[in-house]
């Protein structure tokens, strides 16, 4: 019996260790962390940062790299502009998304697409500090010496088929998002690393136009 208990304990312990990101410890006082995040993002009116996106193809041991510019305007406006090696623009403004590639512009009403709504909301929530209130994900918070990490696990089966988890890495000093990792069930994952972040710039409203 004791052996069984010991085995069960070891199994649970090993599973617990596996679920915890390497180099990170669970944040004990999550309420305090949420408060810190809200305070840091309360004064944020706008943000702009360069990004490098790397798509890692797990089974192919290869990657695809693209670069662009990320812009955010309070409360719910996000612009992701890929500049190289292709041109692609995604503007999220309220319930509408504008997608523009080299050939065509398409407007999507996220109210008609639960999936788009969820993905759209992650971006906005990351900037506005409302990640914990997103009903589509179970959120766990971790911390290392230099960064905080929010681990988002999708709740619905539909989202689980697309993303196994989403990791949001925050700078401990200013709570800026420095990296986003979108993990897929097949083992592929996409990293978006942000750099040169500029706060509270006077961004032109036209950047977020979806019409």
């Amino acid at each position: 019996m004791n052996r069984l208990l010991f085995f069960t304990f070891c199994l649970l312990f090993s599973l617990g260790v596996k679920a915890q990101p390497k180099g990170y410890q669970p944040i004990k006082n999550v309420a305090e962390f949420q408060q810190k995040l809200s305070t840091a993002t309360a004064s944020l009116k706008s943000l702009q940062a360069d990004f490098v996106q790397t798509k890692h193809l797990a089974l192919l041991a290869d990657k695809i790299v693209s670069k662009g510019l990320f812009s955010y305007q309070k409360d719910d406006k996000v612009r992701i502009e890929y500049k190289t090696p292709f041109q692609y623009l995604m503007v999220m403004n309220g319930g509408t998304i504008l997608v523009r590639d080299e050939q065509k512009s398409t407007r999507i009403n996220t109210r008609n697409s639960k999936m788009m709504q969820s993905v759209n909301r992650i971006m906005v929530d990351c900037m506005s500090g409302r990640v914990f209130s997103n009903p589509d994900f179970k959120v766990s918070a971790y911390s290392s010496s230099s960064r905080d990490l929010l681990l988002l696990r999708p709740v619905s089966a539909d989202l689980q088929r697309i993303y196994s988890s989403i990791e949001v890495y925050l700078n401990k000093s200013d709570m800026d998002v420095v990296m986003l990792v979108l993990k897929e069930p097949n083992g592929d994952y996409t990293e978006m690393v942000y750099s040169g972040t500029r706060h509270n710039l006077a961004l032109n409203e036209s950047l977020f136009k979806t019409r």
């Binding site: 490098v52 996106q53 090696p85 080299e102 088929r161 697309i162 069930p185 592929d188």
Partner: protein, 230 residues
């Protein structure tokens, strides 16, 4: 006036008659001569040969639909020759934000035929008809999983016919200079055509690919790019 109307209607009748003529009936059969090894036939000279570990990236646009139900989709199409795994190629299509739409693989078996594997596919695309169409289109570009060829001729062009699950594919090849003009996919009549541009040398991946599905009402256009990390 009456005469010209008569001519126009005759012309229309002729057009209808020839327009309805099955594709193969417009071609003259030829005897395949020369090497016995099918893989040295003209179509296989255009088979892309990628070096071990080599990858090729394309910017890709899908357009399709009827009347008001139109769709447009874009992303990145990635070809890779797997390292140290024999003749094995993987083809991945992902959207700009990195989400994998599909990941297919082909591996040549000991008997010279190809095995096909779906490594992953988005649930919305996971339909037999979608997989079959994508598989067939990619196999024709990569010249994989093809059967035996019959030779036909028309207007100075060689038409190499190979059977598909439904219908045939015709590799249309110009003789001088030797050039792969297009690949036609034919049921009772032509249902799709694949055009490849900038195949220099002829056994390389092309600079651009255009696949026009006239029956299924969609087109795929892919243009070769170099990723920002290269």
């Amino acid at each position: 006036m009456n005469l010209s109307l008569k001519h126009v209607s005759s012309l229309l009748l002729l057009l209808v008659f020839f327009g309805c003529k099955p594709y193969e009936k417009t071609l003259a059969p030829q005897q395949l001569s020369g090497p016995k090894d099918l893989r040295s036939l003209n179509p296989y000279l255009f088979k892309p040969r990628l070096a071990d570990g080599e990858k090729v990236l394309y910017r890709c646009h899908f357009d399709g639909g009827f009347f008001f139900k139109k769709f447009h989709l874009s992303g990145l199409l990635f070809f890779k020759e797997m390292e140290d795994e024999g003749d094995k190629q993987r083809v991945v299509f992902a959207n700009e934000m990195g989400l994998t739409f599909f990941d297919f693989g082909w591996q040549m078996k000991a008997d010279g035929t190809d095995s096909f594997t779906v490594y992953s596919i988005l649930p919305k695309l996971n339909k037999p008809a979608v997989i079959k169409t994508l598989k067939k289109d990619i196999e024709l570009v990569l010249l994989r999983n093809l059967g035996e060829f019959k030779l036909f001729q028309k207007d100075g062009l060689e038409y190499y016919q190979t059977p598909l699950e439904k219908g045939f594919a015709y590799f249309v090849i110009g003789k001088s200079p030797r050039e792969l003009k297009r690949i036609d996919i034919v049921g009772k009549k032509r249902v799709a055509s694949i055009y490849q541009f900038g195949k220099q040398p002829e056994n390389s991946m092309p600079d651009s690919i255009s696949i026009i599905h006239t029956k299924a009402h969609f087109t795929i256009n892919a243009k070769r790019i170099t990723d920002a990390g290269s």
